[in-house]
């Protein structure tokens, strides 16, 4: 093995979800190698899921992440529904979509304002921002609160929503749910534009780092819960996509790092818009135009901007779904089903990108095998490669500044290490 010199070593990057260390090494030939070390993961969830009855497994799967809990729960539920071959009523699907959208916006807000924007404003944390940008902070908090209100009202609880179950929703859908969610989305719209422009105004570093992008897609939408996977110019369903994934268990990391065939790829807001920007709502397109933001965009720092655009897109999306539901007076919340032996997989768009849940169930609905692939586990290899590229660009800066820049890049990927390290592919 060639000698490697550790040039940069960053411990416990702050303002991300979970514990991540980064080492940048340069070998004697001057080649740069980066290790993204996910150092969490005392709980290997799939082991806990095996042996549990399907509904219990879904609750446990949702409790692995307090940030993306809603999408984990919905994806797990859909996977079990696929195994049982049951399709919930369309009202219930729309209702769940609203929960997913609210979770999506909330996650983006937390990432952009509690974690990321501080890098560009020279602040350490959101409390420091309170001093000179108090108005903005309060508006962000209020917008975040509206998303919380929606999840609480429709889901029954702000964190780990209660109502989504296999076959639909546990309780009846009331007209008042729809009206109050509609009201909340209207108010979001009023608050959001100034807030989002605050993000679009930051000037991101230059970095041209074209990757392979993967996202859910369909004809006229940027779907969160259903769709085909597009990677590059190929289209796949979940099963065939997973078959082409290669899991790399790096000795230095507790997370599995995934590559597609032999190449790293990127998932998340930037990937979604790079592949689906044509389907943005007109208001979001207009905003892109005003800020000279074009997709496809190969700068990974632009993931922050893509998230900002998505906030506007998904508020409009939420409104139009609720508009549909408002036209009705009676809703169907669930459908009866029979438990049967089967294998179900579901793929969704978590705020951070593609999320897979796969369960094998026996005739009593007990989980016999589980496999969960999180967005961050898919992004880690790509992140390592991108850091290497960026390092080459900034290697002459003082080490402290290099560290700062690398952390900024890491944060723009919006990694969730807690999830990535907790879900590991179990060998069969």
């Amino acid at each position: 093995m060639r000698e490697r010199n550790i040039r940069i070593s960053i411990r416990e990057i702050s303002r991300i979800e979970g514990h991540l260390d980064i080492d940048v090494m340069v070998n004697s030939d001057g080649e740069v190698e980066v290790h993204a070390k996910a150092l969490e993961g005392t709980r290997i969830v799939e082991n806990v899921l095996v042996g549990k009855v399907y509904w219990e497994a879904i609750e446990i799967a949702s409790r692995m992440c307090g940030v993306c809990h809603a999408i984990h729960k919905l994806t797990a539920t859909q996977a079990v529904e696929n195994a049982f071959n049951v399709t919930p009523p369309s009202d219930a699907i729309k209702f769940r979509e609203i929960i997913a959208i609210a979770g999506h916006i909330q996650s983006h807000l937390t990432h952009l304002f509690y974690f990321t924007i501080l890098d560009y404003l020279g602040k350490e944390n959101i409390f420091q921002m309170l001093r000179d940008k108090r108005d903005l902070v309060i508006r962000v908090i209020n917008l975040r609160q509206l998303t919380d209100e929606v999840i609480k009202k429709l889901g029954g609880s702000s964190v780990h929503p209660i109502t989504p179950i296999v076959g639909g929703l546990s309780r009846e859908i009331k007209k008042s749910d729809i009206l109050s969610a509609y009201e909340a989305f209207r108010n979001m719209l009023d608050l959001a534009s100034d807030i989002v422009e605050e993000i679009l105004n930051i000037s991101i570093p230059d970095l041209d780092s074209k990757s392979l992008y993967a996202a859910l897609t369909n004809r006229n939408d940027i779907p969160l819960l259903q769709g085909k996977i597009r990677i590059g110019e190929e289209y796949h369903d979940a099963e065939s996509f997973i078959r082409d994934l290669n899991a790399i268990n790096e000795p230095y990391s507790n997370a599995t790092h995934f590559i597609y065939r032999s190449s790293s790829y990127m998932v998340g807001a930037l990937a979604r818009l790079n592949l689906n920007h044509k389907n943005l709502v007109p208001e979001a397109k207009e905003l892109c135009k005003r800020y000279n933001l074009e997709f496809p965009n190969y700068n990974p720092f632009a993931n922050n901007l893509a998230q900002a655009i998505e906030i506007i897109h998904y508020i409009h999306k939420g409104l139009s779904i609720l508009d549909d539901l408002k036209q009705k007076n009676n809703y169907q919340n669930r459908i009866r089903f029979t438990i049967r032996k089967g294998n179900g997989v579901s793929v969704s768009e978590a705020p951070r990108g593609l999320l897979f849940h796969q369960y094998e169930l026996n005739e009593n609905g007990i989980v016999t095998k589980a496999n969960i692939i999180t967005p961050t586990a898919q992004n880690l290899k790509n992140l390592e490669e991108t850091i290497a590229k960026y390092f080459n660009k900034i290697r002459n800066l003082p080490p402290k500044d290099i560290e700062k820049e690398i952390m900024k890049l890491v944060r723009s990927y919006d990694p969730c290490i807690s999830c990535a390290a907790r879900f590991r592919k179990i060998s069969n």
């Binding site: 806990v48 409790r63 992440c65 307090g66 350490e124 409390f127 029954g156 702000s158 780990h160």
Partner: protein, 234 residues
């Protein structure tokens, strides 16, 4: 009495999903009120890390699942006046979710098995309002008490249709309430996330399950064993 200096607060997490910390963020503008009264000096998730020796209040989310976490918990204890266990993971090890009761591949310990805990805020997730209340009570020097009502009694007040009667395994009769019985109110059984109520009669609930042909869950069996061993009651 409000002390002259704002109490210094640290927020930490061990093995958890961070959902209870998210519930703190979900306080919204009320979080800003808390910031007027408390000084958060340490919280990795929020990027706060000030220099300090002693903490007045340490808030710890999550259970202890490794030696490193045990060490971390002890260190926090040593430098903190008051330690609060935040959420079911910290309070009970979230045994119904985190621990595999049948084959125990990993051991999750509640915080109180490792260090002395002064206050517990139960729930998976915690209720934001309760968190707010506990902090204010500490500041005022009030004694913190947990309400002794069960989920069942709150559920009955809300005139929900009883799930247990329909043969659904609801743990409401033995679970400490003060959550507005949100699960049965959404037509889902209570899974006991707020821990055992005072005087919980587990035997009676097991009998009620048997009478209605409801399978007895591993969780219930574990609770009962714990109780009959006399030892660690939750």
């Amino acid at each position: 009495m409000i002390p002259k200096q704002k109490p210094r607060v640290g927020i930490f997490n061990l093995s958890s999903c961070e959902g209870c910390i998210v519930q703190i963020l979900n306080l919204g503008e009320k979080l800003l009120d808390l910031l007027k009264l408390f000084n958060i000096v340490d919280c990795r998730v929020l990027g706060v890390k000030e220099d300090y020796n002693k903490l007045d209040i340490a808030i710890i989310e999550g259970c202890v699942m490794s030696f490193e976490e045990e060490v971390k918990a002890r260190e926090i204890r040593e430098r903190s006046e008051i330690v609060i266990a935040l959420g079911d993971c910290a309070v009970s090890g979230n045994i119904n979710f985190m621990k595999d009761i049948t084959n125990k591949p990993h051991k999750s310990k509640p915080l109180s098995e490792v260090i002395k805990v002064d206050h517990e805020i139960p729930g998976c997730p915690i209720s934001s309002e309760e968190f707010y209340r506990v902090l204010i009570d500490i500041l005022m020097g009030k004694k913190i008490t947990k309400k002794s009502i069960t989920v069942c009694s709150e559920c009955v007040l809300r005139e929900n249709n009883c799930l247990l009667e329909k043969g659904v395994p609801c743990l409401g009769p033995i679970t400490r309430g003060d959550c507005n019985a949100i699960c049965p109110s959404n037509n889902r059984p209570c899974f006991g996330c707020r821990g055992l109520a005072d005087d919980a009669n587990i035997d009676a609930l097991i009998k009620a399950f048997r009478d209605r042909n409801i399978p007895i869950s591993q969780y219930l069996i574990a609770l009962n064993q714990m109780k009959h061993k006399g030892g660690e009651e939750r």
